[in-house]
């Protein structure tokens, strides 16, 4: 009896959760059942600390085809086509083994998207590491970037965008979030709900091994005997070739109408796939673990049920079509086995041949986990520390160069050149050539824009305002390429929700997400929560990562971020009120503290509409949102991208009440830096701040001025290349 108690605790279940399981089963669970409950009742599967909060998010909209609860969300892009997308985290595996952790993160999010019947067309990544002067951070960065490239490049899906930030609080707990976007014919899409009593359950793809037996590793050790050799690796190993075959196979199966439903095997493997399919369909499922193709013959039933071996999918198939399904899997050289049947029992039953080794009501297993209220408490001040790296008396020029070479602001070319951004013939705007990636969709006669954002430092300063800003930044990025938001996905990366401060951060951030999406009219169609991201020094910066997909009527009418023409006017529009709070400069000066100004969402939305219309009408030469490093960095980025200098006078900003430092380097939402003909910018109501031309950037702000060469700003902004490849 005492052994049993220890076991459930070691598997992460509380005593009261264990008692509830006993009550729901009417008896004590056996090892197989306990392993399955412990995984499905984990935060990862049950969202037990976040589900109540997530109910605040707006999920409905005219263009929503599939919302939360499916493998991914989807929105209508016209002409009978839908775009499916989702972002998901693979933080903890990546912190242990960055290459495989990041690779399988990409593999997992791809499966979520093709499980709907959508062909993946784009990947974006959002990465967070500790400061780049840490050996550990460089190791994690290198491994994660290689892993993403390895998987995405090998499977032939373009990696079109992303972001990387380097901040001390991620030192021990890096973040690897991957987003996938897929395209489907709306009528061919399939849901994950199992249906049709008597239908066959077919497991497709790779065979099942002991890899990735995560939460159940304690049980594994107990069953396998003592000694260190019994400890199994818990990081999954990815094989993009297996997934490539599985992807093509699944899409062909769906195109031929051979599947009733389809679900990927992710966290908690067969346990969650079967449980969730049965729950969604209101049916039961019998699975025979003796029929699961194994890598190691002596695997125990619980190991088979919780294995997280990659590149597997579970399909429900009408009995008459099973032979055809198996034949098509044979054609694609991908494994397939009929391992179970849909029943009307309302139970998930695990069989080994004739023996029943587990029998649980679906309602208890999937939906029975208690949901908890958070006990939030606002911290009394800045809890993350400060580190000054910029001298007090740095001149404006030195400050600009320091900001541009700060790894979070600097060009990420080193990373994105390791990704295939062109496969698929859709990529109209590649990484760093515009504020959002643009992909043409000839099937629908239009294009989509995609962006992913989330500045954890600003969220740490004010979880509500910082999260609103992440949503606004995505919307602004889309506006810069002419995109109108259709839907949003998010990944909430936070610390331990059972502690008051991370609980408060999560609560405030979800409010910010909900209210900004409501105000912008953008539905949240899916997402993921990653909690317990902490190191010895405390929680990570609270990091809601927001991915947004928008629509453009014409892929030819978009806009880049590069200054294009000598003599073009430079203008600023939007409710931009630059402030040093939470800025990159405040970080370099070691002056971070709590508090951000509250964003004016309707005013930013109006500016987005103005810019979007101007881009679509072809009135602009360039459009760039003002973000990390403020206006001065935004101007430098446009100049570097275009290989052409400019003269800028920020006196109009000073007249709005900004100090010179605020005007140059202050941050905040709502600012768009545009270039084009003077009349066109005037017609938009833009504040005129300068002119494009020359080979230097000249800044003036009232009585202060400085000039810096384009070469100098470019070499500062390109510093990651030499920093990370010292030999090159």
């Amino acid at each position: 009896m005492t052994v049993e108690v220890a076991k459930h605790r070691e598997l992460g279940l509380t005593d009261s959760e264990f008692d509830l399981i006993v009550e729901k089963l009417g008896r004590e669970p056996n090892d197989v059942e306990l392993a399955m409950f412990s995984l499905l009742w984990s935060e990862h599967c049950a969202y037990k600390h976040s589900r109540k909060l997530l109910r605040r998010l707006p999920t409905e909209g005219e263009r929503v085809v599939m919302g939360p609860g499916e493998n991914a969300g989807a929105v209508d892009v016209g002409n009978g086509h839908a775009v499916a997308f989702k972002v998901e985290s693979h933080n903890h595996p990546s912190a242990v083994e960055p290459f495989q952790g990041a690779a399988t993160g990409v593999g997992g999010i791809l499966r979520d998207v093709f499980a709907l019947g959508a062909r993946p067309i784009a990947i974006l990544d959002s990465l967070r590491f500790g400061e780049l002067d840490s050996v550990r951070s460089r190791h994690l960065l290198d491994g994660a970037v290689r892993g993403i490239g390895h998987y995405g490049n090998s499977i032939g899906v373009a990696t079109v965008g992303g972001e990387v930030y380097f901040e001390g609080p991620y030192e021990h707990n890096c973040l690897v979030n991957a987003m996938c976007v897929g395209l489907a014919k709306t009528g061919d899409m399939v849901r994950a709900a199992a249906a049709g009593v008597g239908n066959a359950v077919v497991l497709m793809g790779a065979s099942t091994g002991r890899d990735g037996i995560g939460g159940a590793s304690v049980l594994a050790s107990a069953e396998l005997g003592d000694g260190d050799d019994a400890k199994r690796p818990t990081v999954q190993i990815g094989d993009p070739f297996e997934e490539s075959k599985l992807l093509e196979c699944c899409l062909e199966l769906l195109e031929k109408g051979l599947l009733v439903s389809l679900q990927d095997l992710g966290a908690a493997g067969l346990t969650s796939s079967a449980g969730e399919m049965a729950s969604a369909g209101g049916v039961g499922i019998d699975l025979d673990v003796a029929k699961v193709p194994l890598r190691e013959a002596d695997m125990e039933p619980f190991e088979i049920m919780v294995s997280e071996s990659q590149e597997r999918m579970l399909g429900v198939v009408e009995p008459a079509k099973v032979a055809e399904v198996l034949a098509l899997c044979e054609k694609w050289q991908t494994g397939a086995a009929e391992i179970g049947v849909v029943t009307d029992s309302g139970h998930v039953r695990v069989l080994r041949g004739a023996d029943v080794v587990g029998d649980m009501p679906v309602a208890a297993l999937v939906d029975g986990c208690p949901l908890y209220d958070l006990e939030p408490a606002e911290p009394e001040g800045w809890i993350y520390g400060n580190r000054r790296t910029l001298a007090d008396d740095a001149s404006a020029e030195e400050t600009l160069l320091a900001l541009l070479s700060s790894p979070s602001v600097a060009s990420k070319r080193w990373a994105f050149e390791q990704y295939d951004s062109v496969v698929g013939s859709r990529t109209v705007r590649r990484p760093e050539s515009a504020d959002a990636a643009v992909l043409q969709i000839p099937e629908a006669g239009n294009a989509i824009a995609v962006s992913i954002d989330g500045n954890g430092r600003r969220v740490a300063c004010d979880p509500y305002a910082g999260t609103v800003e992440a949503v606004l930044e995505c919307a602004q990025n889309l506006a810069c390429v002419g995109g109108e938001p259709l839907g949003l996905t998010n990944c909430l990366n936070f610390g331990n929700p059972e502690k008051p401060i991370p609980a408060w951060q999560l609560d405030r951030a979800v409010n910010g997400l909900a209210e900004s999406c409501e105000a912008l009219g953008v539905p949240v169609v899916g997402g993921n929560v990653s909690l317990y991201n902490e190191g010895p020094e405390g929680p990570i910066y609270p990091t809601p990562v927001v991915g947004m997909v928008g629509e453009l009527p014409d892929p030819a009418s978009t806009c880049g971020n590069a200054f294009a023409r000598e003599g073009d006017a430079i203008g600023l529009i939007g409710p931009f009120e630059p402030n040093l709070a939470g800025s990159e400069l405040a970080k370099l000066r070691g002056e971070l503290d709590v508090g951000l100004p509250q964003p004016d969402v309707p005013a930013v939305a109006a500016a987005c509409a103005t810019v979007r219309d101007a881009v679509r009408a072809g009135k602009l030469s360039s459009a760039h949102d003002v973000s990390d490093g403020g206006l001065a960095c935004a101007i430098a980025e446009c100049a570097i991208a275009g290989g052409i200098g400019c003269e800028v006078d920020l006196q109009p900003m000073r007249e709005r009440g900004c100090s010179p430092v605020e005007a140059l380097f202050g941050e905040g939402p709502g600012g768009f830096l545009l270039s084009g003909e003077r009349e066109a910018l005037d017609a938009l109501g833009a504040m005129h701040v300068g002119e494009v031309g020359g080979t230097t950037i000249e800044f003036a702000a009232g009585d202060r001025s400085f000039t810096v060469g384009l070469d100098a700003v470019e070499s500062a902004w390109r510093s990651l290349d030499s920093n990370l490849e010292p030999s090159a």
Binding site: G156, K245, E248, Q418, D420, V422, S425, E725
Partner: protein, 211 residues
Amino acid sequence: MRWGVLQFPGSCDERDALHACSLLGEARLVWHEERDLAGIDAVVVPGGFSYGDYLRAGAIARFSPAMEAVAELAADGGPVLGICNGFQVLCEAGLLPGALLLNEDLRFHCRQLDLLAEDGATLSIPAKHGEGRYYAPDDVLDELEANGQVAYRYAPGQNPNGSARDIAGVRNEAGNVVGLMPHPEHAVDPLTGSTDGLRVFKEIAAAGVPI
């Protein structure tokens, strides 16, 4: 001109190549198990990771039934274009000289770059690979240059992988089999960057050798 684009398990760029070919004529995919290329005038062996690039890039694909048929078509003077992984497959199959090694800096690179054609024309075409460093012994390289078998070079300073003598693409002695690492099929649409890749397809179409 009727084009066939091979499709192996693990191919990535076959649909892009099919699209490029369809701009110039009829085109269809050829499944790797097909042995009969009847009705096909020219073949493209596309990019990707055929058979997961297990063992060595291109080492398994060369044994596929479709590649046996391609070798026959090539021997009969039919035009064959290998792109990236397809170039690796053609080298493994012995249809082209040399080999492709890991990039000098051991990293995958994806970038738009300038290729120089033999007539000095500059073509803007993306390259994206981790194993694209062209290698052959010096005497073979001398011979390739003497015979006019170097089809494309990277523009000065743009060699992304450390290829010998900036070689980006080569042809066989007869001239009807060409392989290159950069991706002309991703340079056929002004919206996605350039249309310079069409010239590569037109050149191979014209390279058939009458027997």
